[in-house]
């Protein structure tokens, strides 16, 4: 059993860290409590480094706990991804602490618990682990979203997420039940062998569709996207970041594992449905973002659109497609963290997150202005930034799947249309930063140095992923080599 525990050493460390934070809160004075977030972030950084340790990476491609926990390249990639996200979010939370009013340490701890859930999710090789870890994420997020109890928006967002999240969980669970009934097991390995014979069974299809709906909810894909704008807007901004990056990535790791590796034949059969979902998601997100003036809401809609682009990688059903998703998510992580952090800094003293707060930002802080513009350009998919290369890989993977098929062309056309529409509103952000008049606030923005480091890292990463993609692509390709995807 001890041998098995070392598979989950990172998760254990994270949970332990969470408990430590909760305990430390009791012994720390008000002033030092603020820096608890930095300590936790530093500790997570250590964990992140430990994930590269030979003793740990040697376990790769191993399974534990009767095969319900799998540590392969994909899992490893996502664990590191989530760790990085959480580090950034923790640093971010310290920035945000003053607006939380109470229970900062608990907030940090819940982030860590959600992180552990995400890390388990990336290794889930069984429906039971999938369910439990996903619920661990969701339930903690209910709390994280509604953490600003004094703000009506936060509470409202929490309730909406709670009810809709529970509905989606119910669908997920019901789907799992049906799949279990047909396949006779909750284990992915069993289902993988059995699923080809079950393609004719309506109960199985029903079940898988319910599972898909549960995951589509996580990534905010059409038609399960309605919650995202309200929740993103109402939640405390660090939560929003974590939700937009971490929770979405958790949905994708499961989609990749399930639809890429466990039931590839079914994915093939459902290509049409996936394409339609992807296309509608892109359209819905981008079109609704057009008239949007609240920045967090804008990024929520853009997040919906990005989920659509990412689904293209699932549609491609190839190692390349998976690698493209990973690449895109990595770029998305840095861009969104930067964007949300800056939005928070800029609207710190404001009522809401209206785009007009960006006016004059290039005078208030050229660094923030540049970083946010860079993030917007990257999200718009313009070279030489991370967002472009990710979209490039996604499009390439879809084109490679079937070039010349009208359906795929329609998807590509929608993607192009979506990108053009998105350029319009991202450009609006840049315009607001650089050449709009009547700035409501003109005082320079003060930035804490850890925030500065995080933003600097984001800029560097956005540029690195765009300019020198050679190594990252190799990493993504290696991580994407999971069973049955190599079709």
């Amino acid at each position: 059993m001890g041998g098995q525990l070392q598979f989950i050493q990172l998760e254990v460390m994270v949970v332990a860290l969470g408990l430590f934070v909760l305990l430390a809160d009791l012994f720390l004075s008000e002033s030092t409590r603020r820096s608890l977030g930095y300590i936790a972030a530093g500790a997570l950084g250590l964990v992140f480094l430990l994930s590269f340790r030979g003793g740990y990476t040697d376990l790769a491609d191993g399974e534990a706990f009767g095969g319900i926990y799998r540590l392969d390249g994909l899992a490893l990639f996502f664990k590191r991804f989530f760790l990085l996200t959480a580090i950034f979010v923790l640093v971010f939370s310290v920035d945000f602490a003053s607006r939380l009013r109470s229970g900062v340490s608990e907030y940090l701890a819940f982030i860590l618990f959600a992180l552990s859930g995400m890390m388990f999710v990336s290794s889930a090789n069984d429906f039971s682990l999938l369910f439990v870890s996903i619920e661990l994420i969701t339930v903690t997020f209910y709390i994280l979203v509604s953490f600003q109890r004094h703000r009506m928006h936060s509470l409202e967002a929490g309730v909406k997420y709670l009810i809709l999240g529970a509905v989606s969980s119910a669908f997920l669970v019901y789907g799992i039940a049906l799949v279990f009934g047909e396949a006779g097991s909750l284990k992915f390995d069993v289902i993988r062998d059995a699923h080809a014979g079950l393609l004719g069974s309506n109960v199985f299809l029903f079940g898988m569709l319910f599972v898909f709906a549960g995951l589509a909810f996580k990534i905010a894909a059409f038609p399960f996207q309605v919650w995202a704008p309200d929740v993103y807007q109402g939640a405390p901004t660090p939560t929003t970041t974590f939700l937009a990056v971490g929770s979405k990535a958790a949905g994708f790791v499961l989609l990749i594992r399930l639809f890429g590796s466990v039931v590839p034949e079914l994915t093939e059969q459902w290509t049409g449905m996936l394409m339609v979902v992807a296309a509608l998601t892109i359209l819905y997100g981008n079109l609704c973002a057009l008239p949007q003036r609240n920045l967090k809401r804008l990024l929520a809609y853009s997040g919906i659109a990005n989920a659509g682009y990412l689904l293209m990688g699932i549609v491609a059903q190839s190692g390349d497609g998976t690698a493209a998703i990973l690449y895109y998510l990595a770029g998305y992580l840095f861009t969104l963290v930067a964007a949300f952090m800056i939005i928070n800094l800029v609207t710190r003293d404001g009522e809401d997150e209206d785009i007009s707060y960006l006016a004059g930002l290039n005078k208030r802080s050229p660094f923030l202005a540049f970083t946010l513009a860079l993030a917007a350009v990257s999200l718009a998919g313009i070279p030489p930034l991370a967002g472009f290369f990710g979209k490039f890989l996604l499009v390439k993977s879809v084109a490679a799947k079937a070039f010349g098929d009208a359906g795929y062309f329609a998807l590509l056309a929608v993607a192009v249309f979506g990108v053009v529409v998105s350029i319009y509103y991202y450009f609006g952000i840049i315009r607001a930063i650089y050449w709009s008049k009547n700035a409501p606030v003109e005082t320079p923005v003060t930035i804490a140095w850890p925030t500065r480091i995080v933003l600097g890292l984001c800029v560097a990463a956005i540029l690195y992923l765009g300019l020198l993609p050679n190594k990252p692509i190799n990493w993504a390709n290696a991580a994407a080599k999971i069973e049955a995807v190599a079709r």
């Binding site: 309730v159 909406k160 009810i163 809709l164 509905v167 989606s168 669908f171 309506n202 299809l205 029903f206 569709l209 319910f210 898909f212 709906a213 909810f217 059409f222 038609p223 399960f224 309605v226 919650w227 704008p229 309200d230 459902w270 049409g272 449905m273 339609v276 979902v277 819905y284 981008n286 079109l287 609704c288 973002a289 057009l290 008239p291 949007q292 529409v421």
Partner: protein, 588 residues
Amino acid sequence: MNIAAWLILLLPLFSAVVIGLGAFRSRKVSAAISVGAVVGSFLLTLLLIRAGGELRTSVTWLEFEGLQIDIGLQIDTLSKLMLCVVTGIGGLIHIFSLGYMKEDMDFSRYFAFLSLFVFSMIGIVLADNFVMMFIFWELVGISSYLLIGFWFDKSSAADAAKKAFLTNRVGDFGFLIGILMVWAALGSVGFADLSNALSGETAAVTGLAGFLIFCGAMGKSAQFPLHVWLPDAMEGPTPVSALIHAATMVAAGVYMLCRVFFLIDGTWAMEAIAWIGGLTSLMAALMAVQQDDIKRILAYSTLSQLGYMVMAVGLGSPDAAMFHLSTHASFKALLFLGAGSVIVALHHEQDIWKMGGLRDRMPRTYWTFFIGTMALCGVPLFSGFFSKEAIIDVALQSNLLLFLVAVFVALLTTFYMTRLFIVAFMGEPRSAQAKRAKESPALMTVPLLVLAVPSVLAGYYNAHAPNPLVLCASLVMLVFGMLVANTVYSGAKADPLPARFVWLAKAMRGRFWFDEMYQWLIDRVQENLAKLAEAIDRRVIAGLMVRGTHGTTELAGRVLRLTQTGNLKAYAFWFAIGMAALLVFTLS
């Protein structure tokens, strides 16, 4: 010899470039370079003529498989004759200009443009292929544009220049298409190659190609219906009118037709050319009868004479056309320069009714103008006589109707030239300027005197014994015309014709309203088309399509956003609907 040939072409270019780059600093240097260049070219031409024989030399400009475009010089009898005209008369006009333009602030610019023109014109003359000819054709067009619009501050000059250029462009359009057709049919653009290709059993190219090529000549030589620009072009300085719009550029069309005669010979285009030539000569002569501006009368006269030449080509006799071209060049240049001398003396007064009595005040101008008039009217033994006889003779041989037209035009020519001569030079001065007029300086009169020589003698190099019938007809017309004009205008203070032939005179004065018709056509067709295109651009493409797409997209966003009601129950409802839709989609 090759070097000499290239120098003839390049000297004026060199002059133009040097003066242009010198940025119009020293007037004297500019003038000296320009005059030197054209005189140099003239001397080299004489050298070539002395050497005799034919010469061909070329460098490649553009080369593809199946299309080779050279800048090549073809020196044969035809081009030598034309070179003489261009550089010889051009040289005299340069010298005349020294005096005429003395006062002008843009003296140097003037000579730069003049040199540019000479260069382009020599290019046309020496061209050994269609594309090169087209290139220089365009360059001649542009230098003529620059010279007509030389006094560009004056709106009328600027408008005239624009009109000349655009009218020429219409002709060039036909020319270009014609060249393309010839090339497609025969696989080359070089005159020598084309001639070889045609020498076999193949017939000439199509009449359409021939006619299209003629369109180019129609523009440059101001043939009906593209004649409208020439009278307006008189807005340019008078030496320019003499050089470009009497002696050389307008003759380029005729020259070109002679050059490519082997191509069009035997097609239906010939007939069209002949008729257009005849029609132009008749119409222009009629218009000339009722003009009052001395330069305009000469301009219409030029039109009419060009019509003669074109008609001669159309009737199958390029030799007669070239003959008339060369004699006409000298006496018409003489007439224009004489007119220029008068205009300068009268401080830029051009209305003949404000002249009169210049005989005594400007004797040298008077006598040389007299010689020019005689030559133009075709008084026997003057140069114009022989060449005109030759053309009328050709007409008689091949087309009786055109013969009658030609004879009638001869009558009109005599009439309006006598009118001009009597009104401007004889009788009493009718204005203060005319009273104060003094003879022009030697710089201007010497070229007149020099030009008078070929005006008398040029006919003899190609003189034939005239056909008796032609001789009779033209002599009768000559005498009749002079007599009538003399009775009508001798001592007249104003033109009596408008009172007697109201409508006819009006039509003649109104130039048969071609300008108005074209203006109407341009307004109605061109402007409306442009308006339509712009409206489509603004309303349909930029409006409906672009703004429409943008608007629809934005509207779609606003509508889709309405699903985001904020109501939790509605969200749950969408969730269920979405689920149901997916179920239907995947399971059906």
